[in-house]
């Protein structure tokens, strides 16, 4: 999952420019689709691994790591806010089948939004033309979600309870 998501992101999605003013972030499937009962320390390790790998492959010098660590740290909160505290006890990988379509989309969109706010503000490093940064946050969140949904569908082992 890790290798496929990262390679598809770097070689295909980043190179094709398929979304104007935004970036579909398939690689985040690796973090977003981790089991809900995975503890924050493990998530931080996975976030660091993903972020550093993306930074090395894209030459972004820390931007991906900053945002991936942030998502890894706050994911527990995102799950609680979007799905309720009971969801944290579940050991399955999140998928539309396991969560139900509506709850899955709510969780994925929330996680992507939380990540993208930090990612794009740090990318811009300025509040000039903030409407453009804002549009990049919204566009990237909306266009990334279907890729995460497809990843959850395409990796059958992730759908097992």
């Amino acid at each position: 999952m890790f290798v496929v998501a990262v390679l598809l992101q770097v070689l295909l999605l980043d190179a094709l420019f398929i979304v104007p003013s935004g970036v579909p972030m398939l690689y985040l499937a690796f973090l977003v689709l981790q089991p809900f009962d995975r503890n924050t320390l493990a998530m931080l390790g996975l976030g660091a691994l993903l972020g550093v790998t993306m930074d090395l492959l894209t030459g972004m010098d820390g931007l991906y790591t900053i945002a991936a660590l942030w998502l890894a740290f706050v994911r527990r909160g995102v799950v609680i806010l979007s799905l309720g505290k009971d969801a944290l006890r579940e050991s399955y990988f999140p998928s539309p089948r396991a969560l139900g379509g509506g709850r899955f989309w709510l969780y994925v969109l929330s996680a992507l939004l939380v990540h993208n706010v930090v990612f794009f503000i740090f990318e811009a490093l300025t509040f000039d033309h903030f409407h453009i940064t804002l549009s990049r946050i919204v566009v990237s969140t909306l266009f990334s979600a279907p890729f995460i949904w497809a990843a959850a569908k395409l990796f059958p082992s992730f759908n097992k309870k």
């Binding site: 190179a15 003013s21 970036v23 931080l44 660091a48 894209t58 030459g59 972004m60 660590l69």
Partner: protein
């Protein structure tokens, strides 16, 4: 002691997160184009190999259009050569003997490119050993402005794309003597702006905007075309929206331009 251990257990993960985040931010804040060149040069052998494979397939399908463009270029160069031969007497009378041509052109291929970020760079396959230097202008093969070289390693160079929040250059509407500043505000990679143009410049939709002479860019290189304009906040100038002449997303082969007197011009104007 037990309480201390409990407390440490409770704050260990948040502390680790803060520490890791601070390290990442510190690294990001200290990042430079040189770091990008170093990292990308190191990873280029792996990513570049796969990119090259996709690129080769793409090249094959682009052969037809590239041949057409090359034929046009050859035709244009032959015409210019013919004109120069005809005017050789006049040219020699204006040129001091042994004078070096002001601009030196060389070509390179884009290895890695991006237009999806707010600070976009592209990597070319020429570096210090090929005579590439920082601040050389980068043009498309048709002579349209694409960016400039920021830093070089031995074999590669990192170029700042026109689609970069930090990019800036001088520009003017062709045929008029109103000078302004060209930049990008982070939106669509084909939309840039020309600011500080007086209101009475009266641009027309479709007007060509060209470069002004600077230590990076030769004059009169096509930058973009006027799409629209609006009054600036100072109410004395207008901000013009341009469509870039070059499509940065499809940039493959580029011309590098070395202005021989760039250092002298930069030193002269640096205090102003």
């Amino acid at each position: 002691m037990y309480k201390l251990i409990t407390l440490l257990k409770q704050i260990a993960v948040p502390l680790l997160f803060i520490l890791a985040e601070v390290l990442a931010i510190y690294h990001y804040a200290g990042s430079s184009a040189y770091n990008k060149a170093r990292i990308l040069s190191a990873t280029n052998s792996t990513v570049g190999a796969v990119s090259g494979m996709f690129g080769s397939v793409g090249d094959y399908f682009r052969l037809s259009s590239e041949n057409k463009a090359l034929r046009g270029e050859v035709e244009s160069l032959r015409n210019r050569l013919a004109d120069l031969v005809a005017d050789s007497t006049a040219v020699s009378s204006y040129s001091a003997e042994g004078e070096i041509a002001p601009y030196y052109f060389s070509s390179a291929r884009v290895l890695q490119n991006s237009v999806i970020r707010q600070r976009n760079y592209f990597i070319i396959d020429k570096g210090l050993r090929d005579g590439v230097q920082a601040n050389m202008a980068v043009l498309s093969m048709e002579g349209e402005v694409a960016g400039y070289v920021v830093t070089c390693s031995e074999k590669f160079s990192v170029c700042m794309s026109m689609a970069n929040l930090d990019f800036t250059m001088g520009g003017r509407i062709e045929g008029k003597e109103f000078y302004g500043s060209v930049g990008w505000n982070g939106g669509d990679h084909r939309t840039i702006t020309l600011t500080d143009i007086p209101r009475y410049a009266a641009p027309q939709v479709g007007d060509t905007v060209v470069s002004t002479v600077s230590f990076r860019f030769p004059p009169d290189m096509t930058v973009g075309y006027v799409e629209s304009w609006e009054e600036a906040e100072d109410q004395t100038t207008i901000d013009i929206t341009l469509r870039t002449a070059v499509d940065l997303a499809t940039l493959r082969d580029v011309l590098l331009v070395q202005y021989q007197d760039s250092q002298e011009l930069e030193e002269l104007t640096s205090g102003y």
